[in-house]
Amino acid sequence: MKKVFKFPIIISALFSVIAGTAIAETKIGMITTLSGGGAGLGVDVRDGFMLAINQSGRSDIKVIIEDDQRKPDVAVKLADKMVQSEKVDILTGIIWSNLAMAVVPSVTAQGKFYLSPNAGPSALAGKGCHENYFNVAWQNDNLYEAAGAYANSAGVGNSFVLAPNYPAGKDAIVGYKRTFKGDIAGELYTKLGQTDYAAEIAQIRASGAENVFFFLPGGMGISFLKQYAASGVDIPLTGPAFSFDQGILQAVGAAALGVVNTSQWNKDLDNATNKAFVKSFQDAYGRLPSLYASQGFDTANLVISALEKSDVKNAGAFRDALRAADFESTRGDFSFASNQHPIQSIYARQVIQEGDVFTNKVLSMVLENHSNAYVDDCKM
């Protein structure tokens, strides 16, 4: 019996050791989509992020991961919980622009850092920019601007444009038109979450356009691509990488072969960091990484690089360390514009088949060291 009584002492001693290290710990709260329809994207961001944390070997970084179910109200509640009861220093993880708009302004106003691994709404890049908000992926318009530039270089005279009727869909069309010099043969806004595109495809067929630019993320893109391939319409498609990422391509299958899409990252980008990332991601999770995984990985490496220079509690120095972007990105050259969004090159890539696996290969660089259109609107 005497032995048993010693256990509480040992346990409390252990606790004090743990509590002792907890003081120097950096807490990162990750709010991302891990259930429901869009879960594939959140899972990839999380896996890429955790891969980098694990590779750094730093045990003083604690990551708290929560599922927002793709619902803005859930994301807001989780953010409050992380800021107030978990006392995190840095937040990250949100996939969707509408959720980012609900969470980011309030957490940055409370003095926390927010690093976006995906969503980059224009409102947060322009007038709503904040010194504690960093976007490590792209400003939303970037990939569409690249699609427009690619259409110019391919000599396309007129385009049919298609996007869902919600803010990010409208941003897509605006971004494409910003760089595309030809005419618009037709413009359609579909319902968000629409699954049948037969009616839109009939209009595309009747329009006689030279190419079709579409932005339909997630399941919408899968449905559209399959139905487009079955319809017998042979107008070439182009779009941002979101409908052609590694998680979706296997579900689309041969219907996507040959489609040109624009991305800031691809698995065959020729730099040592990227090669190591692709290999270690495959070893760790048994699948090819997507662009979302690369964004999660880069976000974590940015945090680690800044933590090496400064403690997160010293907000000014930590912010400067983030701004320096002194980390090896999987995309090669990477730096921040004055509104803390990336300056990076964007590529045209094409869907190919490697054995049984559908994937992308880089065709050419479309925009070199591209910034974003909202830099001048941001007064920090």
Partner: protein, 306 residues
């Protein structure tokens, strides 16, 4: 706006309607016969699609995949009816809604747990791929034509089952007076399990057929479920004929509204506003249709008079 485009859109509306019919036929039977609001009907649709995708990728046969989806739907339906739904018949509608909503969450996360977070691949078989030329120069995907014909065959088959067979007599009798039916020696709980499994099997089949042209992912059933409820309200609860007519009406209204309303508004508005206003009103169009039908016939087109 050419004849070809209009004809193609009418076919699209028809095909959409026929797919809705497969969903709403089961829903209307379950609601009509057992008085049960089954929100989990969309989950059975999702199960059908996931099982079909798995079987198709394992065996390479689309027919086998459809058979598997049908059986998986029926099996899941029978299990759910016997373990959970049976306890809900005598409860009020709010309890039924809560319990079947819980089933949606369980099925969605269960599916994600078993099949993973990424969408699955399911495509039409090679012999049904590509487009064919119809009279009048209309080019239309072969698979969708097959869907329309297949759905009509099932509709006729269900109609015959309800009107011409002994089982159909029992089902119709069950709708009218369940105490009397069971007093006459019909095993009502077996009948309920059968009707529920039949509805679930049709939902599973619809999921597999639609999965081949759309994306097979968690949560694919819920948007269709809402439309299916609109259909059975328009058609009249419990009526297979009403479900068929209602589905085609909703399919045509939704498809044609989405195309012609923006065009109509662009006659007197600038393009961007017209697209905006047009698409907004188009998304409301089926609900407007529903209200008009309900004002005219409060129990739906083929509903029983109260």
């Amino acid at each position: 706006m050419s004849f070809v485009l209009i004809a193609e859109q009418i076919l699209n509306g028809l095909q959409f309607g026929i797919m809705l019919f497969l969903m709403s036929a089961g829903l209307t039977l379950i609601f009509g016969v057992m008085g049960l609001i089954n929100l989990a009907h969309g989950s059975l649709y999702m199960i059908g699609a996931f099982v079909a995708a798995t079987v198709a990728s394992a065996t390479g046969s689309f027919i086998l995949a459809l058979a598997a989806a049908l059986s998986a739907g029926a099996l899941a339906g029978a299990i759910v009816e016997m373990t959970i739904i049976r306890k809900l018949y005598n409860r009020d509608h709010l309890d039924q809604v809560l319990a079947t909503f819980a089933l949606i969450l369980i099925f969605s996360e269960g599916t994600r747990w078993v099949f993973g977070s990424f969408p699955l691949y399911l495509d039409a078989p090679l012999y049904l791929q590509g487009a064919i030329k119809l009279p009048g120069g209309i080019q239309y995907p072969l698979y969708r034509i097959t869907l329309i014909l297949f759905g009509l065959v099932i509709g006729v088959g269900l109609g015959l089952l309800i009107t011409k067979t002994r089982l159909g007599v029992q089902i119709r009798a069950g709708e009218n007076d369940r105490e009397m039916v069971s007093a006459l020696g019909v095993n009502i709980s077996k009948l309920y399990t059968f009707v529920f499994a039949l509805g679930a099997a049709l939902a599973g089949l619809a999921g597999a057929l639609v999965g081949a042209i759309q994306s097979v992912e968690v949560g694919m059933g819920e948007p269709v479920l809402i439309l299916a409820f609109v259909v059975i309200v328009i058609g009249g609860i419990g009526s297979i004929k009403g479900a068929l007519i209602g589905s085609i009406l909703v399919g045509l209204t939704d498809t044609l509204g989405g195309i012609f309303l923006p065009k109509f508004f662009s006659l007197f508005m600038e393009l961007a506003t017209a697209t905006n206003v047009g698409s907004s009103i188009a998304s409301m169009s089926i609900y407007i249709l529903m209200s008009i039908v309900l004002v005219w016939r409060p129990t739906g087109l083929f509903g029983q008079k109260v």
